[in-house]
Every structure is written in structure tokens, then in C-alpha cells.
């Protein structure tokens, strides 16, 4: 068949397998307005829910009067904590093993906290009802500054925890303390610092921000009283986890809960958690017997569902005079807001922050993270990064620049001097991770050559002299970042969420005519799984990608999985695809051997079928094998051609990259221009270079936003400043720099196809590159560290502090 008519190259090309810049399948519907997002869903008799929210950041609730709201035309019900107590749902467990109020129970702990849920015939009537609910507050002292959370006289936030001296992660030191988590060699690190020739110490803060996907968090809950079945359509990055949590909370058996995630308008970590809106919609549907839709507005999204970062990292590095690092010590105050609702694996309350040794060969290190409560929204999600990895990358990459400044060394040279060397992989870091593979020196040198690093430094030196002579008011910064990520959570030996092991899954059914359907435990929010997953299958079993359909997000049909976040789709679900495909190929080989009348070991795989070694004309293609598998299987063999794989990864994967940013800053206005941004990524085997490049562009744009202005800020009484797109910086096409992308390829040795994941690298590496560029620009004027975000105002302030305004 194919072999006789097509060349090898044509057969390869027809598959559109791994490495191909395959155009996206999803785009056909998205470009025509035929996506299927939650708010597009209309069910018969559907009601609409909306929240009454707290005006105060910290207050006692004296009274909630819903009587006027219940008289509003179209309003059917108003839920408060009292109603939820009847079904034992006034509080819910968080993913971080804390508890969170679903609706305010006696007090509120952050501005815009959910107080009551109004259910009405449409969204306008629901909004009318919200206006008519009267709440009486008694305000309480507010705690906003995480660094003051454990002061002896700090207000008591969590009265429900009174007397509890230990939490899910060990002892609590203070009434606002959540956990202390530490890792590494304390005594060894102290010794390294005691003997250090050179030391640096800096409080490096990573401010609070928000993932802010363009589509907010939303759901439609529908309870069928006759069948006792609950269906929840929602914007869930982890639909199976939502089903399990819903079952545990509601006591509805898991097989009677149907969770469906249709198209999702971006996630970036925002849509991993379980929010009060979901619980209230479910309860409202049970109460009213009708489907209930809940759709966040943008202000609700920015101010309530899952902020990111808010890590305050005192970073110390010890080194020799000639720039060899000898120790790392980091202490973090982690601001978790009013409830600890982080989405971290249960043994890692600070996520994978222990990747903070970065790409450098630290002989010893010690990290302590103290989680604290404040009067801010709960969360702490991984905004386009693996769990707390971007915070870690920021701390070490700023720290290395500060050390370089102290040593009067070039920051790139300092990095080259301290990189883990290629021959050291697999490399066990001082904090216990086993890095799978890397060639850091090659990547860094490629990046430096690509941007003309030495010429840039020469230009910078000349500009600095010109600035000093008063010939220009512009300063130039070169931001260098070399990051190592840890993604693909993760091995069940150390990764679980609420006890759920973090494997992922794939089921492939090859149909009799040779096309296939793959069902997944992961869930795309724009990553393009419908396009890239078939490329893996195409390369593994020779079915053209166009003949393979991917289904995700329906818990009734998909195998159980933990979903898509923390760059885990390719490292975990992608591996499950390859493993399931290989099971199919093994069966196909038996079938081919039977029909070609040879032993299985006499066959070799050849692009899209099996060939008898040494007899090229004896060939069976997958399409033909599929038909035989169903209709004429060998004697004794079960018919059919399908397989399922639940993949529990043996290790994480460790993507890395070298980013260089060139920036000019006007010291009189604080305005900056990103002249150049070069990003080299090594994500191992590349499945679809077009999609990788798109992911890098998008992640860099988010990194640019975070570093240069995007912030969820609070005033001293806990009001959110910047809770809408009026103030929250999302760059437009005008501000966004142009991106240059590049790559090296160092496959992961333990991953079936060698892929490591890429979607989050640009956010992880981008933020330090921008911040280092700003800091590098100011460094010759005596500045050591300027906190992010580096908007025009703060740049202007930095210049003013340095005495540049006369």
C-alpha cells in the first residue's frame, strides 16, 4: 500500500508527527466564533447566581438581612452561611489542607469575600438582588503587611484556629502562622557562611499578582433530583480533582457526578482550585432543582479567586573572592491571605521552592519558608509556572546578579563559572532534587553569541561614561537570566494533592478503519492539546495526526487524571500517550507477525507499519492492522486495538533556558524601552515548534507584565488597589516587546519521548531577565536591588532616591 506509492519522506510528512509545525485543529472553531465556553452554555430553566461581597478587609458580620432581596423581581433564593450550615458546607477544605469559608461565617477576612449568594432568573435580576442584601459590619484592625503578620500584637485573623498549635504542616508559632517548612543542611550552610570570603544578603520580594485569564472562573451546576446525579460544567483545569472533591463534600457518589470542562479561555493556574462560586452554584441547584450558572466578573476574578506570588525572600549567597558559590540560604515570608488555598502537593507547602539553587552547583543550602495569614484574598496559585518555581528562579537570579555586582564580575561570567556541568547530570542538588539533563554552558554561550553580549557590555560602558559626563539622561541595562525549572508533578512517591497521586492518563482507541480517538486526564486551556497530542501518537503508531481526535475534560469518558497545570501535560500526560501508543504498537506487532507469517522479532517498525527485516516488500501498515485487529485477529487474541496508560513519572523534568533583555531607561521620566529580548529555551524533545514558539511569546508577555507593572496591591486598610483592568497592567500590542526565540535540545533521559514541557519557562525566566535589566541599568549608580514591579513611577522613584534628579 503506502510503501509502494509514497517515498519515506512523503510517508513521514503525511503523519504530521513530532517535530512538525502542525497547524492547530482548535483554530477552525475558534476563528469562526464556534468555541464552546462555559458562558455559552444555556440549559432549560437555568438560573443565575451572584455574590454579595464584603466591603471590608477584616470585620465582624453583625447581621445579614436578605428580606428585601427576596422581594426583588426574579430573585428566587439567597444563600448565606446559615443555609450552608444545613448541608455542612459553610466551610470547605482547601487544596492546602486548610479550611475556607464558602460564605462568611461570623466574620470576613478579605475585601470582596463572599457573604451571600443570590439566585435569580437572570443575571440582571441577580445583580438587583445583590444590591438589596443589607449587611451590618463591625470593622476590625486590618493586617496587610505579611512581614508584620507574626508581630506579637498583630490582629488575630483566624479565630476558628484558636488554640491550634499545629496545622497540616507541623507546629504553628503564632496565631497568624500557617506553617514552617524547611529543607537543606542548616549547620553545613551556617559553616559555609561563617567561612565565606564574600557574602550578599538582600530581601527580594516577589509582589502579589494574578493570572487573570481573559475568561474568568465560571460554572453551571445542575442537580437531577430524580436520578440523584450532579452535572457541573466549569472552567476546570483539573476536572477529575473537582469531581472527587465535589463527591467528598456533597456525599454524592462519584459515579453520579459528571464534570465537564469545555473550551477554556486561558487558565494560567487560576482555574485549578475549588472556589465558593462552585459550591454555591451546586447547593443552589440542589435547593432550587434547576441548573444554576455562576460567572465571575473581572473585579471578582482579580480580587478573590487565586492570586499568585506574594513571596518575600531574604536571600543570602556565600562565595569565594574569585566567584565560586559556596552556600545559599533563603528565608521566605509567604503571604497566603486569609485562608491557605495554595494548590501545592500536600508534602510541599512551599511548592517546589527548593529549586532555588537554580542552575548552579551549590555545595550546600538551607531554606526556611514561613507561611502567614493576612487580610488578603486566599490563593497562591502557580501563575504560569510550576509550583513556586518562578519565585525561586527570581530569588536566585537576582541573587546571582547582586553577587556579581559585589564581586565586580560580569553576571554572565559568574553564571558560567558556577553552572552545573553537563557531565554532572543526573545532578543531585544541595536541596535534594535530581536534575535529569542539561547543557547549561552551551545554552548560555549560544545566547551570548546571539545577542552579541560582549558588544552590548561595551556599549553599556560607553553609555555609562556618557551619562556620567552629563551627555545623556538614558541608562542602559542588560538583564541576564539562566533558569532551571522543575515541572511535571509528579512522582506519586512524593507528589499528591489531597491524597490524590499526581499521575496522568491516556486512553487510545484505534478504530477498525484506522483512525483513532484519544481521551486524556489533562485539560487544555489554550495549549493546543488537540493538535500536539495526535503528533505524539502519529510518531508512535503511524496513524496520521489528522485521523486522530483528542477528547479532554469529560470525566465520564476520560480516564482519571490530575489535569493541566505546572507544565505537567507534556511531562506526564504526554508520557502516558506514548506509553498507551506503545501498548497498541506491541499488539499490532503480534498481528503483523501473524499475517506476515514471521516471528515478532523478525519485524521492525517503519514509519507507519511493520516490515520484515531484510524483506522490504513484506510490510503491514497500521491501517490494515487495525482492520485485522477487529475483524480477523489471530487465533486466541482478543479483538480490538486500544490501550490505556496511567503514567506515574519516575522523576520531574527540568527544562532550562538563557534569556537576555536589553533595556533603556530615561531617569527623568522613568520610562523604559525594551530594545531587545532574546529567549533560548531547552525543553527537550520538541513536539510542535510553532506551538512552542507561541507559548514562549505568551509567557514572555506575561513575564513582561509582572516585572514591569502588574500587581494586586492593597492599601493600609486592605482595599484592593488595582482590581480591574483599569489599573491592573495587562500589556497591549503597543507596549509588548518583540520576542526573539531560540532553542537547544537536551532530551529528558527518563521521559518516553524525551520531552520536558515549555509553557511556563518564559514566565519563570522572563521575570528575572526584565528585573535584572532594570537593576543592571541602575547598578553603576550605587543601587543594589530595586523591588518589582518596575513601572515608570517606580523607576522614577529609584532615580530620585539615587539623587539623579538634582
Amino acid at each position: 500500500m503506502t510503501t509502494t506509492t509514497l517515498t519515506r519522506e512523503q510517508r513521514e510528512a503525511k503523519l504530521e508527527g513530532m517535530g512538525c509545525k502542525r497547524k492547530r485543529v482548535e483554530d477552525i472553531r475558534f476563528t469562526q466564533g464556534k468555541g464552546n465556553y462555559i458562558d455559552d452554555l444555556k440549559l432549560p430553566g437555568m438560573l443565575f447566581g451572584d455574590f454579595v461581597r464584603s466591603q471590608y478587609a477584616h470585620a465582624r458580620i453583625k447581621k445579614i438581612d436578605t428580606s428585601k432581596a427576596l422581594k426583588v423581581q426574579g430573585v428566587l433564593a439567597v444563600l448565606t452561611a446559615e443555609e450552608l450550615k444545613g448541608v455542612n458546607l459553610a466551610w470547605m477544605p482547601t487544596l492546602a489542607q486548610d479550611v475556607q469559608m464558602v460564605l462568611a461565617d461570623g466574620k470576613v477576612l478579605f475585601q470582596n469575600q463572599e457573604i451571600a449568594f443570590v439566585v435569580a432568573e437572570d443575571r440582571y435580576a441577580a445583580a438587583d438582588g445583590v444590591e438589596a442584601v443589607e449587611v451590618e459590619y463591625e470593622d476590625l484592625p486590618v493586617l496587610v503587611d505579611a512581614l508584620k503578620a507574626m508581630d506579637p500584637d498583630a490582629p488575630v485573623l483566624r479565630e476558628d484556629l484558636a488554640g491550634k498549635t499545629s496545622g497540616a504542616h507541623g507546629p504553628r508559632k503564632h496565631h497568624n502562622h500557617i506553617f514552617e517548612w524547611s529543607v537543606g543542611d542548616k549547620a553545613g550552610t551556617e559553616a559555609a557562611f561563617a567561612n565565606a570570603e564574600v557574602k550578599i544578603k538582600e530581601l527580594i520580594s516577589y509582589h502579589r499578582t494574578h493570572p487573570s485569564p481573559l475568561e474568568t472562573c465560571q460554572c453551571v451546576a445542575s442537580f437531577d433530583k430524580i436520578k440523584g446525579e450532579l452535572t457541573v460544567h466549569g472552567t476546570f483545569q483539573a476536572p477529575h480533582v473537582i469531581r472527587t472533591v465535589a463527591s467528598l463534600l456533597s456525599k454524592i457518589p462519584e459515579h453520579k457526578i459528571h464534570v465537564v470542562s469545555p473550551d477554556i479561555g486561558g487558565g494560567f493556574g487560576n482555574k485549578v482550585g475549588a472556589y465558593p462560586g462552585y459550591i454555591c452554584a451546586i447547593v443552589a441547584s440542589i435547593v432550587t432543582g434547576k441548573p444554576v450558572k455562576w460567572v465571575e466578573d473581572r473585579i471578582e476574578n482579580l480580587t478573590t479567586t487565586s492570586f499568585a506570588r506574594d513571596y518575600h525572600m531574604t536571600t543570602e549567597i556565600a562565595a569565594t573572592k574569585d566567584g565560586k558559590v559556596t552556600g545559599l540560604r533563603v528565608h521566605v515570608i509567604a503571604d497566603h491571605g486569609g485562608f491557605d488555598a495554595c494548590a501545592d502537593p500536600s508534602k510541599f507547602p512551599a511548592g517546589f521552592f527548593a529549586i532555588v539553587t537554580g542552575s548552579y552547583d551549590f555545595p550546600v543550602a538551607h531554606v526556611v519558608v514561613d507561611g502567614v495569614y493576612t487580610n488578603k484574598a486566599p490563593g497562591g496559585v502557580a501563575y504560569r509556572c510550576s509550583l513556586r518555581v518562578t519565585e525561586a528562579a527570581y530569588a536566585i537570579e537576582r541573587g546571582m546578579d547582586i553577587l556579581a555586582q559585589k564581586l565586580s564580575m560580569d553576571p554572565a561570567e559568574l553564571r558560567l563559572k558556577n553552572f552545573v556541568k553537563r557531565e554532572q547530570f543526573p545532578y543531585k542538588s544541595a536541596l535534594g532534587w535530581e536534575y535529569d539533563s542539561g547543557d547549561y554552558h552551551a545554552a548560555m554561550r549560544k545566547a551570548m553569541d546571539a545577542v552579541g553580549y560582549r558588544q552590548l557590555r561595551a556599549e553599556q560602558a560607553a553609555k555609562r561614561e556618557a551619562f556620567t559626563r552629563g551627555e545623556t539622561r538614558e541608562i542602559m541595562g542588560v538583564g541576564t537570566c539562566f533558569f532551571t525549572e522543575i515541572v511535571g508533578a509528579g512522582p506519586s512517591k512524593n507528589c499528591d494533592i489531597l491524597g490524590l497521586a499526581m499521575f496522568d492518563s491516556c486512553e487510545i482507541r484505534v478504530h477498525p478503519t484506522g483512525s483513532a480517538t484519544a481521551r486524556m486526564g489533562s485539560k487544555s486551556q489554550g495549549q493546543g492539546h488537540e493538535t500536539t497530542y495526535p503528533q505524539i501518537i502519529a510518531s508512535e503508531i503511524g496513524i496520521p495526526a489528522d485521523d486522530i481526535m483528542v477528547e479532554e475534560g469529560n470525566t465520564d469518558t476520560a480516564p482519571y487524571g490530575i489535569g493541566t497545570f505546572g507544565s505537567r501535560s507534556t511531562p506526564v500526560a504526554g508520557a502516558a500517550i506514548a506509553m498507551a501508543a506503545r501498548k497498541i504498537r506491541n499488539k499490532a506487532q503480534m498481528i503483523a507477525a501473524y499475517v506476515l507469517e514471521v516471528h515478532e522479532s523478525d519485524l521492525e517498525w517503519d514509519i507507519d507499519g511493520f516490515r520484515v527485516k531484510g524483506l522490504p516488500e513484506k510490510f503491514k501498515g497500521m491501517k490494515e492492522i487495525a482492520w485485522i485487529a477487529y475483524n480477523k485477529p489471530p487465533p486466541g487474541m482478543e479483538p480490538g486495538l486500544e490501550a490505556v496508560s496511567y503514567y506515574d513519572p519516575p522523576n520531574m523534568t527540568y527544562p532550562f533556558g538563557a534569556y537576555i533583555c536589553v533595556m533603556d531607561i530615561d531617569v527623568d521620566t522613568g520610562e523604559y524601552k525594551v530594545r531587545r529580548f532574546y529567549a533560548l529555551d531547552d525543553c527537550g524533545t520538541r513536539i510542535n515548534p510553532m506551538i512552542i514558539e507561541g507559548q514562549v511569546h505568551g509567557g514572555l508577555t506575561e513575564a513582561f507584565a509582572i516585572a514591569m507593572g502588574q500587581e494586586i496591591r492593597y492599601d493600609e486598610i486592605g482595599n484592593v488597589v488595582g482590581g480591574s483592568f483599569m489599573d491592573f497592567f495587562l500589556p497591549t500590542a503597543v507596549e509588548t516587546p518583540k520576542w526573539e526565540t531560540d532553542h537547544t535540545v537536551t532530551p529528558s533521559p527518563h521521559h518516553p519521548i524525551g520531552a520536558k514541557g515549555v509553557g511556563e519557562s518564559p514566565n519563570v525566566g522572563g521575570v528575572p531577565a526584565f528585573s535584572n535589566a532594570v537593576n543592571d541599568a541602575f547598578s553603576f549608580l550605587g543601587s543594589t536591588h530595586i523591588q518589582m514591579p518596575h513601572d515608570h513611577w517606580r523607576n522614577w522613584m529609584a532615580a530620585k532616591r539615587l539623587g539623579l534628579h538634582g
Binding site: 469562526q32 444555556k42 440582571y124 495549549q527 507561541g694 480591574s724 483592568f725 497591549t732 500590542a733 518583540k738
Partner: protein, 166 residues
């Protein structure tokens, strides 16, 4: 609340409906006409996911009441492909140049780009960037959106002149 009768032309078809005076145009399009291509992303007129073409202008349909569109001619993303199903060069360009990821901003982005290219058939890159500054994308970083619009501009300019689609 008393309802008002509105009439308008949407994607070449005469439509009417009963709406509350406070009902937003985006809700009329999405919920009364079931044209769910235009999306809601921000509620404050910043994101442009709700952009439609109204009487020859790009309009953010979340910032206009349905009653204000009385008698208007509106084109939404659903009206961009030809009757024979062939895609508009912008729809094609967004796919070819990988100008979208989650797809949520795409309908608004394409509608805005369509008006931009009618106002300025051969825009420079900077003109494209300025021209779509009212539309936010969280996924792509815009670089490939710019390319997609350039692709469409080249294709439209190369094609034999036809009557304007809008």
C-alpha cells in the same frame, strides 16, 4: 422591568427582540440571538473580547445597550465566513500564523482587525499594533496576531477587487 422592542440587522439578517432598556448589546447578541462568538472578558471596556462591527465602526458591545443599536447594521464573527463556508482571510491568517491559543479574544480581535484593514488596507506593523491596542490577548504576546493581520492584508490586497464584505 418594562421591555422595549428593538430591531437591527445582524450578519445581513433582520432581527428583533424585546429587551430591558438596561440590557447590554453583548447580552442581546449572545443570549437572545445565540451568537456566542463575541465574549465578555472584563466588564470595563478594556479587553475588547466583545468587539463587533457596528455601522462601520469597531464597537465594544459590552459598553452599549441593545436599545442603542436600534436600526444598526452589525457584523459579528459569525458573519465573517462566506456563505459557501470559505473563511475570511483574517480567519485563515490567524490559523496559518498561529495568532491564537485559547481562542477567547480571537473573535473580537478578528472583528477589530477587519475594520482596521478596511480603514487602512496596508498598515505597517506599528499601525497594526496601535490599531488593536483596544483588544487584549493573554496567550499569544501579539507577535503572531500582527503576522496574522499582515497575512490577511497581503491576501486581500492581492485578490481581485470585490465588493467589501462588510
Amino acid at each position: 422591568m418594562a421591555k422595549t422592542h428593538v430591531k437591527m440587522t445582524v450578519n445581513g439578517r433582520a432581527v428583533d427582540g424585546l429587551v430591558e432598556p438596561r440590557q447590554l448589546l453583548i447580552h442581546f447578541l449572545r443570549e437572545d440571538l445565540n451568537l456566542t462568538g463575541a465574549h465578555i472578558g472584563c466588564d470595563t471596556t478594556h479587553c475588547g473580547a466583545c468587539t463587533v462591527d457596528l455601522d462601520g465602526k469597531s464597537v465594544k458591545s459590552c459598553t452599549m445597550f441593545a436599545v442603542q443599536a436600534e436600526g444598526a447594521k452589525i457584523t459579528t464573527i459569525e458573519g465573517m465566513a462566506s456563505a459557501d463556508g470559505s473563511l475570511h482571510p483574517l480567519q485563515e491568517g490567524f490559523r496559518i500564523e498561529h495568532g491564537l491559543q485559547c481562542g477567547y479574544c480571537t473573535p473580537g480581535m478578528i472583528m477589530r482587525a477587519s475594520r482596521l484593514l478596511q480603514e487602512n488596507p496596508a498598515p505597517t506593523e506599528d499601525e497594526i499594533r496601535a490599531g488593536i491596542a483596544g483588544n487584549l490577548c493573554r496567550c499569544t504576546g501579539y507577535q503572531n496576531i500582527v503576522k496574522a493581520i499582515q497575512y490577511a492584508a497581503a491576501k486581500i490586497n492581492a485578490a481581485p477587487r470585490k465588493e467589501a464584505a462588510l
